[in-house]
């Protein structure tokens, strides 16, 4: 079982090609959270993510380890970008590899739910400059 949970400053780089699952696994689910062009109806240029990095990584690791074990995943990777993230770029990347699709889908969904409840990261929308939209 491979579990990786990291807070990353700067663009996310996926270090291994998607789809390498090994013989026993039939499901690989990948999710990317992308910054939208508006927040609460107002146009934005991006989101500046504030983060308690040490605690966030500890909480992400705890969540990922528990879910990987519970769903008996082959692999669970979660990367969260912090600092300024422009509109259209990825702020969150999750990948789960499992024997069957149900476990992979549910593990990804549950990880995101727990992340949004427990991981100390906050959004600061960056206002769009005039002419950006």
């Amino acid at each position: 079982m491979t579990v990786q949970a990291r807070i990353v400053a700067g663009p996310l780089r996926i270090e291994r090609p998607f789809g390498l699952t090994g013989g026993g696994c039939g499901a690989a689910v990948e999710f990317q959270g992308v910054v939208r062009d508006s927040e609460d109806g107002a146009p934005i240029a991006g989101i500046d993510y504030e983060c308690h990095a040490r605690m966030a990584e500890a909480q992400l690791c705890r969540i990922a380890q528990q879910l990987a074990s519970f769903f008996d995943l082959e692999e669970l990777i979660v990367l969260h970008r912090v600092g300024p993230v422009p509109v259209g770029e990825t702020s969150l990347y999750v990948r789960a590899i499992a024997t069957r699709r149900h476990d992979a889908f549910v593990a990804v969904m549950e990880l995101i739910e727990q992340l949004k409840r427990d991981v100390p990261i906050w959004k600061h929308p960056m206002p769009a400059r005039q002419g950006d939209t």
Partner: protein, 81 residues
């Protein structure tokens, strides 16, 4: 004993600082630190109902015993993703 309180997001902005040091009597619990903090910094009191507290890297209950040098983080509702 001395503890350090770290403030994040809207609490950091409200207080105008990211850390506050506090002197507490021996045997103090997390609730004692929070009571003292909100009494000394009423600008933060509006967040008391929604902010969670952590000691070190783990969320903690109000009755947890504190130790000299502990780092307490106040975590307003998170917004990752």
């Amino acid at each position: 004993m001395r503890v350090e309180i770290l403030l994040w997001a809207q609490m950091r902005l409200a207080a105008g600082t990211e850390r506050i040091e506090m002197e507490l009597p021996g045997g103090a619990r997390l609730a004692d630190a929070l009571d003292a903090l909100y009494r000394l910094h009423p600008v933060l009191a509006a967040h008391r109902a929604t902010a969670r507290a952590a000691v070190g890297d783990e969320y903690a209950d109000a009755d947890v015993m504190l130790h000299d040098g502990d780092e307490i983080s106040l975590i307003p509702p998170v917004q990752g993703g």
